[in-house]
């Protein structure tokens, strides 16, 4: 789309004035309105519409546990810890920025200096009961280690599930299969959004 086209806001509009008759004031006027409404057959239009939908049988139900609606790439569900593509080791360097920025104070981590005098994460947990899923932890992470995953089903026997470092870390077999999903990020474009862009009609 060229710039001229884009700036042209005189979009074709199909607005029209709805024909609303004045409210009847006299008794005779009210009577005429009742008679008109009674014999106009609007009730049968309603009956026909629902019957037509039943015959067409165009069911819109998503049978949830078997079928799922696709979710957007920006969706912020339960956190995940990603691994490095090169070495399959965890990306987290234990800098503690996520713990620092967390507005709900729900991230708790402990680190130590290991034998190679590198920082190593010993404890990492997110209290999902407090987490508000604001996404600051993923935004602040310098290594793209903690990200939001697409998993929004959090039913478990224990509230503490999903949220320890081992739970969040990409399983090594998934990593070996090369199917670790990167988080596309907070400005990610929803697939197919180009087609759904519409011009706002500004000329009234």
């Amino acid at each position: 789309m060229s710039r001229e086209q884009l700036n042209d806001r005189n979009v074709q509009q199909n607005y029209f004035q709805v024909d609303i008759a004045d409210y009847p004031t006299t008794g005779w006027g009210k009577f005429k309105r009742v008679v008109a409404r009674t014999f106009r057959g609007e009730l049968f239009v309603g009956l026909w519409v629902v019957l037509r939908e039943m015959i067409k049988f165009d069911i819109h139900t998503v049978r949830y546990p078997e079928e799922k609606m696709p979710i957007g790439p920006r969706y912020r569900a339960v956190h995940e810890m990603l691994r490095l593509w090169e070495s399959d080791t965890e990306r987290c360097i234990g800098c503690g920025l996520c713990e620092k920025i967390c507005v709900a104070s729900c991230i708790r981590m402990d680190t130590r200096i290991d034998e190679d005098s590198r920082k190593e994460v010993t404890e990492y947990s997110i209290n999902l009961g407090r987490c508000i899923f604001c996404g600051y932890c993923a935004e602040v992470c310098p290594e793209l280690a903690i990200v939001h995953g697409p998993r929004y089903e959090n039913a478990s026997e224990q509230r503490a599930h999903f949220v320890t470092f081992e739970d969040m870390l990409t399983p090594i077999d998934v990593m070996k299969a090369g199917s670790q999903k990167e988080f596309e990020g907070f400005g990610a474009v929803i697939p197919g959004s180009d087609e759904s862009v519409k011009k706002t009609p500004l000329a009234y």
Partner: protein, 329 residues
Amino acid sequence: MDTAFFIETIVKIVVILTVFSALAGFGTYFERKILAFMQRRLGPTYVGPYGLLQIAADGIKLFTKEDIIPAGVVGPIFKIAPVITAATAFMAAAAIPFMPEFTIFGYTVHPIVADINIGILYILGIMAVGLYGPLLGGMSSNNKYSLISAARGASVFISYEVVTGLSILAPIMMVGSLSLIDFNNYQSGGIGSWMVWSQPVAFILFWIAAFAETGRTPFHLIANDHEIIDGFGTEYSGMRWGLFFIGEYANMFFISFVMAIIFLGGFGDGSALGALALLGKVAFLFLFFLWTRAAWPDVRPDQLMWLCWKVLMPIAVVNVVITGIVLMF
């Protein structure tokens, strides 16, 4: 009174009770399915094939749920009210011929519990007694929404009894009997002899009044979910609430039978085809109860009263007068 008659009557009562209690359950299933299809949903699908066992699941739930009698209710009245609704619904069925008479093992069965000569009067009277279910349940519930519902129930039922009685008066004048079997025999000459052709106005009026009597959607004000919670059923739980439900659905079936017999020819000449036709008519009328629920909005209570006293009742009276004049000459 001979023993055979006694046993036959008991068997008929048991059959009607069980069949229509089960049909009330199936009625909820059909309602959920058909409403769902009309609204592009699927309805119950998980319990059993096509969700059919949902009825059993609902039944188990209703039977095993705790029966709560809240503090502050008028206990005995609160407990008896659902029984009145269900009992009167089934009592009204006593005078309805569900099928033509048939012979089995050389014994002629009349599928009507009591062919009393005031049949239609009895049915209307007992259905009017059914008013006490919502009325007493709502008044004893110690809940303001239930009280509103009870007041609405009383006004709606009493008002529409007038329309029902007056609209059915014209067919009664034509037939000259109150027995539903006589009504059926009057129309046994095929489609052309159906009462709906000679009394279309009475049919429409009775149909409209049937919606008010059963409290179905265009007139679903007595238990109007979106403004007074469940009305008189708000404080009920478990099987007491279930009895209200069974009563409502049984009433829908029975009033469909009554309409089919009075206006749509009933079982006709009494052949097996006629019996099937009666079931088909009843099925259509029942479907229409569900259909309107998907399609039409509710009216306000004052509009309902307006419709009854200023529109339907005058039309019914005029219909009776015209029928009388035509019959006289």
